[in-house]
């Protein structure tokens, strides 16, 4: 194997290298200096992200087990941006006294999980896909139970690992049926057709992935895990791990499962309606902001399914664009929640009453993030939703589109509840003024720039669309 071929796996190599470098630092730092790895990890991951954007070759190695092309690289880069923001936001939490000697563990777990998701996106064989999926999930379960003195955190870890194990067992059962029906596991060799056995296998396979994206009826773990985990892990789970699962789902549906199109369109039609509606209705009654964002992210997954259902190049482009916007808006919202939780220890909606009086800038960031999630016009979230709806309309799903628009209105109500709490509600004892640390401010500014720029700067969408059309014409 030549060096040229090995360089196709550039994203993975550099991540593995940064895990090793971080381990080396961890061994050499003395007990009091462990928090240095916050800076080291941020710099390492910034390098990873930058290298990811360099031009890369297309090809496949290991006999077709590993595939790379510009579209997959774009997906990895989008998720890398998300991970970088998560890393920047977690500095202040890791500096707290209770975490002082195990800071590096958090970064190692997240980095390992990122390696897994890169392999999963690039997989060309069901074995690679499965290995990537497990490598994505198992470290996150450990990270979810990172707060070892909180029973909630352990509970979240248990709920995550058991539902992940259960869902991957279901997925594997589907895979074994598909293998029996087709006789191969290479994506290039597999040829599916509509018969009862393969439809059964596909339904099992889809249920396994639906657990990861938390599509209704497989969403029950989401709220509990999101509430119990440390908020930084929650933001990783809700943005990066969910985004990776969505990317893989759409890649597999339009290539591998193309012959089963009739089947998966029906499956997604039903689940999309339930996911949007149930996510939104449950979000209304949440008081804890982490649970609130959990249900809002379930509802967003339902909107994303609108782009998936058409299975067209435009649908794919709209999904990728929406995930890019979602990375920025959701991480901005989580960034504010993290900052307030770190400084005041409060996560309930009532505690946000009167936040604008004491922390105007944080309130503005939160407002922009929630407006973008709700899809209010000048912000990127509006364009994201607009393209998703266009893709669904292109496929002729007008009833589904109507339900989606109704759901957008419901979601506007509960997003505005938080904005109302911050700007209008009176509070005698609001969260006091505080200055968050440098990294958090950089991360939040990056999110705000993303929310504003990605919407207005049209070359972003045009670039994504071009890659998607190329992918379809291969």
């Amino acid at each position: 194997m030549s060096l040229q071929q090995l360089l196709l796996m550039r994203h993975e190599w550099i991540l593995i290298a940064s895990v090793l470098i971080l381990l080396g630092f961890e061994l050499n730092f003395s007990e009091e200096k462990k928090s240095n790895s916050i800076v080291v990890a941020a710099i390492l991951f910034a390098i990873v992200t930058l290298v990811g954007f360099l031009p890369a070759a297309t090809g496949s190695i290991f006999g077709g087990m590993y595939i790379t092309d510009p579209l997959r690289i774009l997906m990895k880069n989008i998720l890398n941006l998300g991970v970088l923001i998560v890393f920047l936001q977690s500095g202040s939490w890791l500096r707290t006294k209770i975490n002082y000697n195990r800071v590096t563990e958090f970064y190692l777990l997240i980095l390992t999980s990122v390696i897994g998701l890169n392999f999963m996106i690039s997989s060309g064989h069901f074995l690679m896909f499965y290995l990537g999926l497990e490598l994505l999930t198992i470290p996150i379960a450990a990270a979810a139970s990172y707060d070892q003195f909180k029973s909630k955190s352990a509970e979240a870890g248990i709920k995550l690992i058991l539902s992940a194990a259960f869902s991957s067992a279901i997925l594997l059962f589907g895979l074994s049926i598909l293998y029996g029906a087709s006789g191969s596991m290479y994506f290039q060799e597999v040829k599916f057709s509509v018969d009862l056995l393969q439809v059964l296998g596909f339904v099992f396979f889809f249920s396994g992935i639906a657990f990861k994206i938390s599509i209704v009826p497989f969403h029950l773990w989401t709220a509990d895990v999101y509430e119990g985990s440390p908020t930084n892990v929650t933001s990783y789970l809700s943005v990066v791990s969910k985004g990776a699962a969505i990317f893989v789902l759409i890649l597999l549906l339009v290539t591998l499962f193309e012959p089963l199109r009739q089947v998966w369109q029906q499956v997604i039609y039903g689940t999309a309606i339930f996911t949007m509606t149930i996510g939104n209705l449950f979000a209304i009654r949440q008081q804890n902001l982490k649970r609130f964002l959990a249900f809002s992210s379930i509802a967003q997954a339902g909107f994303i399914l609108l782009g998936v259902i058409g299975g067209s190049a435009l649908g794919m482009a709209s999904v990728i664009y929406f995930v890019l916007v979602y990375v920025f808006s959701n991480l901005a919202a989580f960034g504010v929640v993290i900052a307030i939780e770190e400084n005041a220890g409060k996560v309930n909606m009532d505690d946000y009453n009167g936040l604008y009086k004491t922390n105007p800038r944080l309130s503005l960031v939160m407002m922009l993030a929630l407006f973008s999630l709700a899809g209010i016009p000048p912000l990127a979230g509006f364009f994201g939703k607009f393209f998703l709806f266009t893709a669904a309309a292109e496929g002729g799903y007008y009833v589904l589109l109507f339900i989606a628009v109704m759901n957008t209105i419901i979601s506007l109500y509960y997003y505005l509840l938080v904005v109302k709490a911050m700007f209008i509600n009176k509070n005698d004892l609001p969260v006091g003024y505080f200055q968050s640390d440098y990294f958090t401010r950089v991360a939040l500014s990056a999110c705000v720039v993303g929310i504003l720029v990605v919407g207005f700067y049209s070359p972003v969408f045009e670039y994504i669309q071009k890659l998607c059309f190329n992918y379809f014409n291969l």
């Binding site: 074995l127 497990e134 909630k152 259960f166």
Partner: protein, 105 residues
């Protein structure tokens, strides 16, 4: 020479095993038993792969490789899961799912 078992019978066994695992996962209250139920599901999948390999595609070995990987990953998963169980036990002195209910909507 003993007559070979038909593939149908083998598949009935694995499917039964799989759904016994699902039933156990959904009804058991003890976390360790739930983990065992997941292992039963995974073993049903392993058998499925091996049967398909032997009966339908002899000499291909892809299914065999897959089942070995599943065994390895199941072990990793069990290791992490049990570590988290211990962490929960330290906090609430129990590994019963009914006790792990501090979060409800």
């Amino acid at each position: 020479m003993v007559e070979q078992v038909p593939l149908n019978h083998a598949l009935i066994i694995t499917t039964l095993m799989f759904f016994i695992g699902v039933y156990g996962f959904l009804t058991r209250k003890n976390l360790i038993t739930m983990l065992i139920s997941v292992e039963i599901m995974l073993n049903a999948v392993n058998l499925n792969f091996v049967f398909f390999d032997n009966y339908l595609f002899p000499g291909k070995l892809e299914g065999h490789f897959f089942s070995i990987f599943i065994i390895a990953i199941a072990a990793a998963e069990a290791a992490v899961a049990i570590a988290i169980f211990i962490s929960l036990y330290r906090n609430i002195r129990s590994i019963d799912v009914e006790e792990a209910n501090t979060m409800k909507h």
